[in-house]
């Protein structure tokens, strides 16, 4: 069911409960001509993922709620969309490496969006 090719389009799903922080992240990526999808919790995130299959980057705050928490959501995304670039952020205690899904980057809050952007740009893209 999952795709095997890296995704070329610049689309990102931001899953963040804190509206102010979410607005900022959205504005950041929109400024750089990215297509941004927003979700406040895991439920909204899954809704978006059900509709679109071409999302290149998913950024999840581990503390979001819903039918699953942010970390479980990350594992779900990794399983369903193996090529997706995954970023997991959290203001609470850092998530240990073993708990993270494969090829996911953990960033403690507050984090630098520019760094995220750099990491995205460095990852391979196949048209």
């Amino acid at each position: 069911m999952g795709q095997s090719k890296p995704i070329g389009s610049n689309t990102i799903l931001i899953v963040e409960g804190e509206a102010l922080v979410r607005f900022d992240m959205t504005a950041f990526f929109e400024e750089r001509d990215w297509r941004v999808f927003e979700a406040e919790d895991a439920d909204q995130a899954i809704e978006v993922l059900d509709q679109r299959t071409d999302i290149r980057v998913v950024l999840i705050d581990a503390t979001v709620s819903g039918r699953m928490d942010g970390l479980k959501l990350a594992h779900y995304v990794r399983e369903r969309f193996p090529p997706t670039l995954l970023f997991i952020v959290s203001g609470q205690a850092p998530v240990p490496q073993e708990a993270l899904p494969q090829r996911a980057t953990f960033l403690p809050k507050p984090f630098d969006l520019h760094r995220v952007m750099r990491q995205i740009e460095q990852s391979p893209v196949t048209p």
């Binding site: 509206a19 102010l20 922080v21 979410r22 504005a27 950041f28 400024e31 507050p110 969006l113």
Partner: protein, 587 residues
């Protein structure tokens, strides 16, 4: 001394002189009688030859004894007879002379017996006098000994009559009772010295002694000077000549100091007993011999026999070795060991965190006789520590969140501001509003924020509350998550009002009013920002970050409806949300 007494004494002295040996005595007798005979013949011839011998015999018996007296009598009779003897008579003496001789012999013998008795009596009297003198010396010594003993004893030794009245008190007794003159108390009823229970006991003791029973008791009695003292009293009967008690002996010992030191020791015991900490003592082999009540309660040993327990029994298995190998030897070596360990409850088995403090107990010579412990129940402290750690974790989380929000606000402000100066101004003001919001939250440990208070703090920098800015609404407790956004939104509204709206001229006012319709979590919270009296309003051409923030974020955080209405008389911003989404509903 009169002459006659002196003579008598001289006489007595001669009489009781040591008895001389027999030959001497009898020889002397013969010589004396012979001399008397010569004198008689020379002086008196043959008329009544016997009478001169009588005094001689008397004297000889008196000084030399019965034997010589009898001999003298016989020789005297013969001598006197010889004087009047005529060879021409057939019996040598005339019948008259024979009778006279016999009479003389008999009476003189009788006299000898009498004199001998007198002599014996004199000798006895002398002997008795000597014995009496010796006895007196012994008695005087004994008396001196006894009164020395009585005098030096610090016990109050008293003799009472059968009615309990004082007839004698030893010197030592007078001292401890602070009596300077025994006559002050002689004859007083002894029980009167005692107060309360002691009085009854004293009376009972007197009565018992009268019956022949000894009795003892402890009581309180003041000395004659009024010093209060505690006494141990032993009362016993003194038997008279017939064997019945006719006097009472009462010996009282001052135990005031002993009692004081016992009371002091008792105080320490009570200290240990009443302490809320676990106090226990064990011997060197680890066997327990004392636990106070608090100790028994802590580990669930309320009715148990503690003497069969060892120190090791109190700890969970994994700590027993540490205690044996490190803790107790360290206590012995350093005089003390303290640290956090766990006790094990004897009934439930649960672990009880404690602050275990143990020290060696030594005897007076410094040798180790056991271990003592004063241990504190540490559960509360642990709970408090754990709670604090938890809270610290929460605070750290919230701090990071606030920083993330600040980061976003900064980033968005910088993005939308036309120049650096405007950016700086806007940013500064926004951060102040953010700070005010977090102040309110910190006041309640980040659990809640009163709507009125948040509004007051966010709007105070923009206009005087109560005059140009009016707040009106019921008590509503906002959730921490919406508080920051709410404060920032109010700040934006006020900033805009100050630039273009009701707070731009000197007359306009702003009314922030809110209401709750309905009950419980599904009640509707309506908040309205109404400007009036300001300059004419026109919809803005460009929505800055502020306006966007107001509508979008409030809509998101409150999960409700939010809209700005640019009415000509003044801007109105309305927000409607489910109470349960934005606030905590009180019971």
């Amino acid at each position: 001394m009169s002459i006659s007494t002196a003579l008598l004494n001289r006489l007595r002295d001669l009489t009781v002189a040591r008895p001389r040996p027999k030959p001497l005595r009898y020889g002397l007798t013969v010589v004396v009688i012979a001399m008397v005979a010569i004198v008689q013949v020379v002086l008196f011839g043959s008329s009544a030859p016997w009478f001169l011998y009588t005094p001689a015999v008397v004297l000889l018996t008196l000084f030399l004894g019965r034997g010589p007296g009898v001999l003298a009598t016989i020789i005297s009779s013969l001598g006197a007879g010889l004087v009047v003897a005529r060879s021409d008579l057939p019996l040598l003496l005339t019948p008259v002379h024979w009778s006279a001789s016999v009479i003389f012999l008999l009476t003189t013998l009788g006299l000898v017996v009498l004199v001998e008795a007198l002599r014996t009596a004199l000798l006895d009297a002398d002997r008795l006098r000597e014995e009496r003198e010796k006895a007196l010396v012994v008695t005087a010594e004994r008396e001196a000994f006894l009164s020395g003993v009585l005098g030096s004893s610090t016990d109050c030794i008293k003799v009472l009559d059968l009615d309990g009245k004082l007839t004698f008190m030893s010197e030592g007794g007078q001292r401890v009772m602070e009596i300077s003159d025994f006559n002050d108390v002689a004859g007083c009823p002894w029980p009167d010295f005692w107060q309360n229970a002691g009085n009854a006991e004293a009376k009972a003791a007197v009565e018992a002694a009268g019956r022949g029973e000894a009795h003892s008791f402890i009581g309180k009695a003041d000395t004659y000077q009024g010093t209060p003292k505690w006494w141990h009293v032993a009362v016993s009967p003194i038997a008279g000549p017939e064997g019945h008690p006719d006097r009472i002996l009462s010996v009282s010992r001052d135990i005031t100091e002993l009692r004081a030191s016992e009371e002091e020791r008792e105080r320490f015991v009570r200290l240990a007993e009443n302490s809320a900490d676990f106090v226990g003592m064990a011997r060197t082999d680890g066997s327990l011999f004392y636990m106070n009540d608090a100790a028994k309660r802590l580990v669930g040993l309320e009715d148990a026999d503690i003497t069969r327990l060892m120190i090791a029994d109190f700890f969970p298995p994994e700590q027993v070795e540490t205690v044996a190998r490190e803790v107790l030897p360290a206590a012995e070596r350093d005089g003390h060991w303290a640290g956090e360990l766990d006790f094990r409850h004897f009934r439930t088995g649960e672990l009880i965190p404690v602050l275990y403090s143990v020290f060696p107990i030594t005897d007076a010579s410094g040798a180790l006789i056991g271990y003592g412990t004063v241990t504190r129940d540490f559960r509360e402290r642990r709970r408090a520590e754990d709670g604090m750690r938890l809270m610290n974790g929460e605070l750290a989380h919230r701090l990071k969140n606030v920083l993330a929000v600040v980061q976003s606000v900064v980033s968005q402000t910088l993005r939308t501001a036309p120049d650096a100066e405007t950016a700086s101004e806007n940013l500064g003001a926004r951060l102040v509003a953010l700070g005010a919001a977090t102040d309110v939250l910190t006041g309640s440990s980040w659990r809640s924020a009163d709507l009125h208070e948040v509004a007051t703090r966010a709007l105070a920098p923009h206009g005087s509350i109560g005059e140009r800015i009016l707040l009106d609404g019921p008590a509503v407790t906002l959730k921490p998550e919406v508080t920051v956004a709410f404060a920032l939104a109010l700040h934006e509204l006020a900033t805009n009002a100050a630039k273009y709206g009701a707070l731009a001229n000197g007359a306009g006012t702003v009314v922030l009013e809110w209401s709750v319709t309905g009950e419980g979590n599904d009640a509707i919270l309506s908040i309205a920002w109404c400007e009036q009296g300001g300059p004419p309003v026109s919809p803005p051409t460009r929505k800055g970050f502020g306006s966007t923030l107001i509508e979008r974020s409030l809509r998101s955080y409150f999960r409700g409806k939010a809209a700005t209405d640019y009415r000509p008389e003044g801007l109105v911003f309305e927000l409607e949300a489910r109470l349960g989404d934005a606030a905590t509903v009180n019971e």
